[in-house]
């Protein structure tokens, strides 16, 4: 009885792992989709959201299989970058996700770690697929990235395999509060340092980062943050002579 219960538990775990692999398989497409909203507001150059959805959907559903058949049939027409992304990155990961359903994972830590490394390597293979390969005896720009990308796919698979064969730790627990606020603080710093200057940016980033833990006592944090800001404002531009704005632009103007 206990045994079957344990088994069904792993089964649900496996389904969720497989689903997350599927999400990982289309992560670059989703990222470009989110990014493409920027073009509506005129930020950056790139395709609009509608184009992104249509081209990736056709690449995933129709373009890639036909390219695959074409390749077998000897058709050497060059595939578009979206189709290549589907072929090189998404399909192998979908395959892994399906395989995952039938596996007994003995160490989720190693298995998931290996597969994600594999995904990174496949992505690198796609990113370097447009680069030139060997030209006679000399390496092309793409030779080394493809070599190491291939090697990393193999190593990732190897690590995943040990996760299937050898008992090991399960997935570690992730917390969200620390990473979230530290990231918000870093991103705020990056966006604000030029327009707002060291003084405002350092102080606000300090408080944002301090939100990352429930231990923070606010009065203390504000005092320390202010002292730190003053110290940074003196240390970096003056003592070390690093060129950075001190105060917000609109105030100076």
């Amino acid at each position: 009885m206990a045994d079957t219960m344990g088994h069904s538990a792993t089964a649900t775990r496996n389904t969720s792992v497989a689903i997350s692999f599927c999400l990982l398989a289309i992560a670059p497409q989703i990222f470009e989709f989110i990014w493409s909203f920027g073009t509506i507001f005129g930020w950056g150059a790139g395709r609009g959201p509608a184009t992104v959805v249509i081209s990736h959907a056709t690449a995933l559903l129709a373009g890639a299989p036909s390219a695959l058949i074409g390749a077998i049939g000897g058709d050497t027409k060059k595939a578009s970058s979206d189709v290549l992304l589907a072929l090189i990155y998404s399909y192998p990961l979908f395959a892994v996700a399906i395989l995952t359903l039938f596996m007994t994972i003995r160490s989720a830590q190693d298995y998931v770690g290996g597969i994600v490394l594999m995904a990174l390597a496949l992505f690198a293979l796609w990113a370097s697929s447009d680069l030139q390969g060997m030209r006679g005896f000399s390496f092309g720009a793409g030779t080394a990235p493809r070599m190491f990308g291939g090697l990393l796919v193999a190593l990732g698979a190897g690590i995943a395999l040990t996760g299937l064969l050898v008992d090991g730790p399960a997935m570690a627990h992730y917390s969200w509060r620390g990473p979230l606020f530290v990231m918000i603080s870093i991103v705020f710093f990056a966006l604000a340092i030029r327009p707002l200057g060291v003084v405002v940016t350092a102080f606000v980033s300090f408080l944002l980062a301090a939100m990352g833990t429930h231990e923070t006592r606010w009065v203390e944090a504000i005092i320390v943050g202010a002292c730190l800001t003053l110290g940074c404002a003196l240390l970096f531009p003056y003592v070390l002579g690093l060129p950075m704005p001190m105060f917000p632009r609109f105030l100076v103007q």
């Binding site: 003056y238 002579g241 950075m244 632009r249 100076v252 103007q253």
Partner: protein, 323 residues
């Protein structure tokens, strides 16, 4: 004291990099930022510093050098092209950033002619044909014959795609109509090291880096690619004297402002630059570096515009796109 003042100046400048366009009659009212697209201490940086320190005296405002490195100087040049055209952000461009980059990088984020107002040509560093000390040819004629006969075997070193040593050697190769193997290095230091060690056969490089090595006999120079011999290497013949007059190359450095900077400001800056080039101490320091100071007729903004145009035309057939 100057230490503190320089720092205070730097801070002030970074604070005020965005004030509304100043009137030309009072220009400059605050310090000027000069972007140098290469690392501090390189030939372009040194020439900029020598000239701007004198210009600052003439203009009565400090000129702060900001070194922004990356992608063969094109990162900084692209940034300068987009900066406010109020005369407070200038750039020292050179042969690479304002000419050779056009054919090399098809996706260049700026165009040297369309996005910049020329101010003045500053100084150029002559280019030498150098070889390892035991390379068989004795003079330039023998060198030409040798590399033509052995173009499959010889190795030419260069300091990376887009560097002066790379583009000038490409020019030499196109004149000789050969395609020897180019061995890339990460900067002139490692390339020179390989030449001194005899791992590569020859390279083309700027005079500044090469003079001490030539004088010490660790490498040899066949010719200098300028119309006249250089005082720091009186024994090295010019390419014309040695029998290859077609090979003329100089790493010129010039001052530019973003497009749309008012002509009055350009005139003030041009006058200050010319005054600096005529100053005896500035001249002496530039000559110590082996630089060539342009004659008065080449110092006008118009002459610089023509130079940029001609240089782009000169490099376009020689260099092929990097990607």
């Amino acid at each position: 004291m100057t230490f503190i003042r320089a720092l205070a100046g730097a801070c002030l400048a970074s604070l005020c990099g965005f004030v509304a366009p100043a009137q030309a009659q009072t220009y400059p009212t605050r310090s000027i930022t000069m972007v140098v697209p290469f690392a501090a201490g390189g030939p372009t940086d040194v020439i900029s510093r020598i000239v701007t320190s004198h210009m600052a005296q003439t203009l009565g405002q400090s000129i702060i050098i900001e070194n922004v490195v990356g992608a063969g100087g094109t990162t900084a040049t692209a940034r300068a092209a987009r900066s406010t055209n109020d005369g407070y952000t200038l750039i020292t461009g050179h042969m690479g950033t304002h000419a050779a980059s056009v054919p090399l990088y098809p996706k260049l984020a700026y165009h040297p002619e369309k996005d910049f107002e020329p101010i003045a040509l500053l100084a150029g560093t002559p280019i030498l044909i150098l070889a390892r000390k035991d390379f068989p040819p004795k003079d330039l004629k023998e060198f030409v014959a040798y590399v033509k006969a052995n173009s499959e075997k010889v190795n030419a070193a260069h300091a990376g795609i887009g560097s002066v040593s790379h583009v000038s050697c490409e020019l030499l190769h196109s004149i000789l109509d050969i395609k020897p193997v180019g061995v890339p290095f990460n900067g002139t230091g490692p390339a020179m090291n390989a030449l001194v060690a005899g791992q590569v056969d020859y390279m083309c490089d700027q005079i500044v880096n090469a003079v001490p090595q030539i004088n010490a006999g660790t490498i040899k120079a066949y010719a200098i690619a300028t119309p006249e011999r250089n005082p720091s290497l009186p024994n090295v013949p010019t390419t014309a004297e040695a029998g290859l007059p077609a090979f003329q190359a100089q790493a010129w450095n010039a001052m530019f402002a973003p497009k749309g900077t008012s002509p009055a400001i350009i005139a003030i800056l041009n006058a200050a630059a010319i005054k600096a080039l005529d100053d005896e101490t500035v001249k002496k320091r530039l000559l110590e570096l082996g630089s060539v100071i342009p004659p008065p007729k080449d110092r006008t903004p118009e002459a610089l515009a023509t130079l940029v145009k001609n240089e782009i035309a000169k490099w376009s057939p020689v260099l092929k796109p990097a990607t």
